[in-house]
């Protein structure tokens, strides 16, 4: 059974990768039938391209803050709902709903919430006297990345709630009972007993989410299209713009190759962690 599967994989995954690597060595405008071999020029251009570096930095911030934020939120929610009994367990189900909301819906939802005027976020912050004037969430270079990260954390925290809840179920009762007999405080119980048991789940979940966020296109595109200027442009947005609005496939492929290498490195780390966990 492996041979046909390998053939299909080679066709639908291997071929586009090989083709992208080849194209990255060409000047390959889609509008022009003439494509010239230019060696490593696209890669050299990449080194001096400030937009590439800004996109890479934005990708790192977006991915890092989203994963850490969603993980912390998921952890707090998992610990807070750990001991829910009977019908109250339904509450945990409610907390999981953002995970089921399509990303594009999340994007539009937060776009409305972050409207400068009339948006619920500014309205609430103003009423609570937390801010004096409306924050231009999506229309300012300072805030746009933060706005998409907040939306992303809201959308992904339930994933961590789910995996932490499952992991908490694996903490041996005798260990928690022993800690209770020793009169461990709530904080000690969490920090010294439960968190060590959650470490593996956290690592696996974080690595999965890093890969997913690295490639997250629809949320950012629908909320800001990577703007204003390049303030919320990540690698995936930049590659899309280069390939499908500027039709510069050669340079877009070069960035795609670098992006692929970065993802492969993260995936290798993921596999290593998984292997370590299994052994």
């Amino acid at each position: 059974m492996t041979l046909p599967a390998l053939l299909i994989l080679a066709l639908v995954i291997g071929y586009p990768i090989v083709r992208a690597v080849i194209i990255s060595f060409y000047h390959y405008p889609l509008l022009n039938p003439q494509h010239n071999f230019i060696g490593a020029d696209n890669y050299r251009r990449l080194v001096d391209d400030p937009v590439f570096w800004q996109s890479l930095q934005n990708t790192a911030i977006y991915t890092g803050v989203s994963v850490v934020g969603a993980m912390l939120m998921g952890l707090v929610l998992a610990l807070a709902t750990e001991n829910l009994q009977g019908p109250w367990r339904f509450f945990r189900g409610v907390l999981l709903t953002p995970w089921a909301v399509p990303v594009i819906v999340v994007a539009f939802l937060f776009q409305f919430m972050f409207e400068d005027t009339g948006g619920i976020t500014n309205d609430l912050l103003l009423r609570l006297h937390i801010i004096d004037s409306a924050i231009p969430w999506l229309s300012s270079s300072q805030w746009s990345l933060a706005a998409v990260i907040i939306a992303n954390i809201w959308s992904q925290a339930p994933f961590f709630l789910l995996i932490f809840t499952a992991a908490l179920g694996g903490v041996p009762v005798e260990v928690t009972e022993a800690a209770r007999i020793d009169r461990a405080s709530t904080w000690s119980m969490i920090a010294l007993i439960k968190l060590p048991y959650l470490r593996s789940a956290a690592v696996v979940g974080a690595l999965l989410m890093i890969i997913q966020n690295f490639n997250n296109f629809p949320l950012i595109w629908a909320m800001t299209e990577g703007g204003p200027a390049y303030s919320s442009t990540t690698l995936v947005i930049y590659v899309y713009r280069l390939a499908f609005t500027s039709f510069n496939l050669g340079y877009a492929s070069a960035i795609g190759v670098v992006w692929l290498v970065l993802l492969l490195m993260i995936s290798a780390a993921f596999i290593r962690v998984l292997r370590g966990k299994t052994s």
């Binding site: 053939l7 509008l31 005027t117 231009p136 999506l138 229309s139 204003p228 200027a229 039709f247």
Partner: protein, 454 residues
């Protein structure tokens, strides 16, 4: 009773390892054949998915890629047009291929790459130039004969002429104009007359913002897309400059800095929200929450369908004027016209041309689509009869006499696709960051130098 053949096979192989060789090879071969068949089917269906032109049931088929059929507002209109055309031409079937406005350019470019183009397509602005650069468009010089050419506004026909070749004909005429809300102006204590210069506009915006800070004083498209640059091009021009000329950047000039300063002023003073599409302002305009907005003729349709005001009430509230001028007193606009193109691989070119001509200049299409659904002007040089009556209103008249003569064609071409993002991110930086205008202009210029390869 056995549940299924597959589990039986697994059981058999497990029990009799010696059978794995022959049976396993047979199963592999069968799976391989099935997999190959599935892949072939996918490839074949992918290759033929957007085609379908040629003949069907003895009728000539014309495939038509367009966004009119992908948008809720215009979908019923275009469906009615196709039905009417097929009624008038019983030997032709039109197959609509709905593609959203945002995607149509790159989808068609990709279809050109795969050799699988539609017969006719709806395009706009630089999209026509991009497709022409691929060499996939059919020259229409031999189709657009004398009588067609004489019936169409020459300036509009010229917009579809690239390097001396007619490759697109006008469908709807829709240049950018300055819409002004007389009611909002009067409430702010202003004489409800349109500002003639950008300075006058700034004075009006200040008065309106002071009186009603929640009203969007000025709607302008500052999105990072070719349409965003299309809208800003005539504004830049009226300040005395354009960001590039051919392959030469010309963004680091005093004229461009004046323009960027203007954009910074309207954003920093809260007159306009940055990074918004032009269409964003139409809905609030319907509830008098917008004082001025730069837009094509589409505002009327959205306002009337939302607020259900009559024509008379609309004309009482809204007026249009050419975009304000700079110090030289000249006004400029850019087209947002929808054009029709034919692909050179079209199988039924005569039928395709017939359909294009029907949409562009037939009385039926103009009355029941161009005016009714697009709220745009027809490309006719001298409208007569019912069409002339329908165009006898202050908005259409102002478009025809005051705005259309100010239309210039932005520097469209393949360079435009590379350059628009450099320019519009600079515009957005001017509107949303505290970087100096000098450094933004210089940055746009150096980015253009790299991307235009001049």
């Amino acid at each position: 009773m056995r549940s299924c053949g597959r589990s039986e096979a697994i059981d058999a192989s497990t029990r009799h390892p010696s059978r794995i060789g022959a049976g396993g090879a047979r199963r592999h071969a069968r799976t391989l054949v099935l997999a190959c068949a599935a892949v072939s089917l996918l490839v074949v269906s992918a290759c033929s998915s957007s085609g379908g032109s040629g003949t069907q049931n003895g009728k000539q088929v014309v495939t038509f890629a367009n966004w009119a059929d992908a948008e809720q507002n215009t979908q019923p209109g275009i469906e009615a047009m196709i039905k009417e055309f097929e009624k008038e031409n019983p030997n032709i079937t039109v197959k609509s291929l709905p593609i959203s406005y945002t995607d149509i350019e790159h989808q068609l470019v990709l279809q050109v790459q795969s050799g699988n183009t539609p017969d006719v397509a709806e395009l706009q602005g630089n999209y026509t130039f991009s497709l022409q650069a691929t060499g996939a468009l059919q020259s229409l010089d031999s189709y657009a004969n004398g009588s067609y050419q004489q019936s169409v506004i020459p300036q509009e026909l010229q917009l579809g002429n690239i390097d001396g070749q007619l490759v697109a004909i006008p469908w709807t005429v829709a240049p950018f104009a300055l819409w002004y809300n007389k009611k909002v102006m009067a409430q702010a204590g202003l004489d409800p007359k349109p500002p003639a210069t950008w300075d006058e506009l700034l004075t009006d915006l200040a008065a309106i913002h002071q009186k009603a800070p929640k009203i969007i004083a000025f709607g302008t498209d500052s999105t990072n897309r070719t349409y965003g640059l299309d809208q800003n091009w005539p504004v830049m021009k009226s300040f005395g400059g354009v960001p590039f000329d051919g392959k030469d950047p010309s963004a680091d000039t005093q004229a461009m800095k004046d323009y960027l300063n203007f954009m910074r002023t309207v954003a920093s003073k809260g007159y306009t929200p940055p990074n918004k599409k032009g269409g964003f302002f139409r809905q609030p305009a319907a509830s008098d929450q917008v004082a001025f907005t730069i837009d094509g003729p589409y505002v009327k349709g959205v306002v009337q369908s939302t607020s259900h005001v009559s024509d008379a009430q609309f004309y009482q509230t809204w007026g249009i004027a050419p975009l304000p001028s700079g110090s030289d007193g000249k006004h400029y606009s850019a087209p947002t016209d929808h054009q029709l193109v034919m692909f050179s691989k079209a199988k039924n070119k005569d039928a395709a041309w017939k359909f294009m001509q029907f949409l562009s200049t037939s009385d039926y299409a103009i009355q029941n689509y161009t005016l009714k659904y697009e709220n745009s002007l027809p490309p006719l040089q001298t409208p007569t009869g019912e069409i002339a009556k329908e165009l006898d209103n202050p908005i259409s008249q102002a478009f025809k006499t005051d705005v259309i003569p100010t239309v210039i064609r932005p520097n469209w071409g393949t360079a435009y696709d590379n350059a628009y993002s450099d320019v519009m991110t600079g515009v957005q930086s001017a509107m949303t960051s505290s970087s100096s205008i000098d450094s933004i202009a210089s940055h746009i210029s150096s980015a253009l130098k790299n991307d235009l390869g001049g």
